[in-house]
Amino acid sequence: MVKLETIVIRSTAEFQMIKITEQVRDIIARSGVQNGLAAVISAHTTTGIMINEGLECVETDIEELLERLVPKDMPYAHAHFLPSYGATGSNSPSHLKSMLAGNSCMFVIQNGVMLSGDAQDVYLTEFDGPKGRKVYIQIIGE
């Protein structure tokens, strides 16, 4: 069995870590799949899907690390007008943070329940907000 659901989220800041753990857990629970895998996949190039501990201090450290690794003002090649977009590419740091974060994660489903460690939360990480975002949850199993 394969099931797909889409979560739509509106971010409210340029950088934001939005917990979607409970939404993913609910979608898995009502999918009817007893044993299998759930993939959580972002539809975007300036967001990330992360698993980490859902603590404010951890979120702060992640944000500050990404800021150190990807400074705002560098001679990024992407900073030019893009005819395919009709706009200037002013968001290279957002793309690079997205690359570092990755755009998907997976969970095991056992007996209809998402298996995860006690400390694990799933985040949609926004690097170019505020924006409307979509996350696909694809469930594969039986």
């Binding site: 509106r10 030019h80 007008f81 395919s84 009709g86 200037t88 505020p130």
Partner: protein
């Protein structure tokens, strides 16, 4: 207070139900890979950037390609959703036989606050005799004009029509007609500066991000192409904050503008005070004559 004097509401969901209409707008404006979003998202983005009000600009292309990049009625629809946040402008294709009637409807019935004209996209020279009745109509209603000036990213929009010098005759003939030559008339920045300097009724806006990132491009235009203190000393009453959204974003342009080391008073004028004068909200003020 921040007023964004230059936005094109191409992707506002309330006016994007019809797919063919939306596709036409995208093609004519040359903007892609974006989707309609609800008004709440736009207001949230404005709040995030501290933008109090935005001017919404339509473009009438009736005789050029049989449509609109957002119509006057579309603008009215959006303004009605948040009248305290949006300032609706009208547009009219100067070659329409009923151009003056449409302007009467837009200013009278729809209550729109100014006129958007795009010489390159609508293919007219601003100093053409044919435009006189339109300028006089704006004067009669005391409405300002937002002119596209300089290079346009839109397809089929030759720059020759929007060279800043073509606006000088208009500024001379109609000294009471408030007009904005948008985008600093780039690349003819010095020609635009000359008009700003000489004609009290001529304004410009900051909706330029044609190369580089916003900070680098503003430094180049405002500090190198122009003398580094020209805006501060000579043009502080003539420059208005504008983005040209959805092409360029407030979240990029605003921090760059704020990094230009303008005096707080000058920055305040650029971000909103000059727009109030342009819009006619602060009548009888002619600060540039001090």
């Amino acid at each position: 207070m921040i007023i964004d004097v230059h936005t094109h509401p191409i992707f506002y969901k309330a006016i994007s139900e019809d797919r063919d209409t939306l596709d036409y707008r995208k093609r004519q404006f040359g903007v892609f890979k974006q989707s309609p979003s609800p008004i709440e998202s736009t207001l949230q983005e404005m709040d995030y950037n501290g933008v109090t009000r935005s001017i919404l600009l339509p473009i009438d292309l009736t005789t050029q390609s049989g449509g609109w990049i957002v119509s006057n009625d579309d603008v009215k629809t959006i303004v009605d959703l948040a009248p305290d946040r949006f300032i609706g402008f009208a547009s009219v294709d100067p070659y329409r036989e009923d151009a003056l009637e449409e302007l009467d409807r837009a200013f009278g019935e729809l209550g729109l606050k100014g006129l958007k004209l795009h010489p390159s996209k609508q293919k007219f020279y601003p100093n053409d005799e044919q435009l006189k009745p339109i300028y006089e109509k704006c004067l009669a209603y005391d409405k300002p004009i937002m002119f596209h000036a300089g290079m346009s990213w839109e397809p089929d929009a030759p720059s020759k029509y929007s060279h800043p010098l073509h606006f000088e005759d208009v500024a001379v003939a109609y000294p009471e007609l408030r007009m904005c030559l948008a985008h600093f008339g780039w690349p003819w920045v010095k020609e635009t500066v000359m008009l700003l300097l000489k004609y009290p009724n001529v304004f410009t806006d900051t909706s330029i991000l044609h190369m580089d990132n916003a900070l680098d491009f503003y430094k180049q235009v405002f500090k190198v192409d122009m003398g580094p203190l020209w805006i501060e000393r000579n043009l502080n009453d003539k420059v208005m904050f504008g983005t040209n959204g959805p092409r360029f974003k407030a979240k990029r342009l605003l921090p760059a503008l704020q990094a230009m080391d303008f005096r707080p008073k000058t920055l305040q004028k650029i971000l909103g005070g000059n727009a109030e004068v342009f819009l006619g909200e602060r009548r009888n003020e002619r600060p540039w004559l001090n």
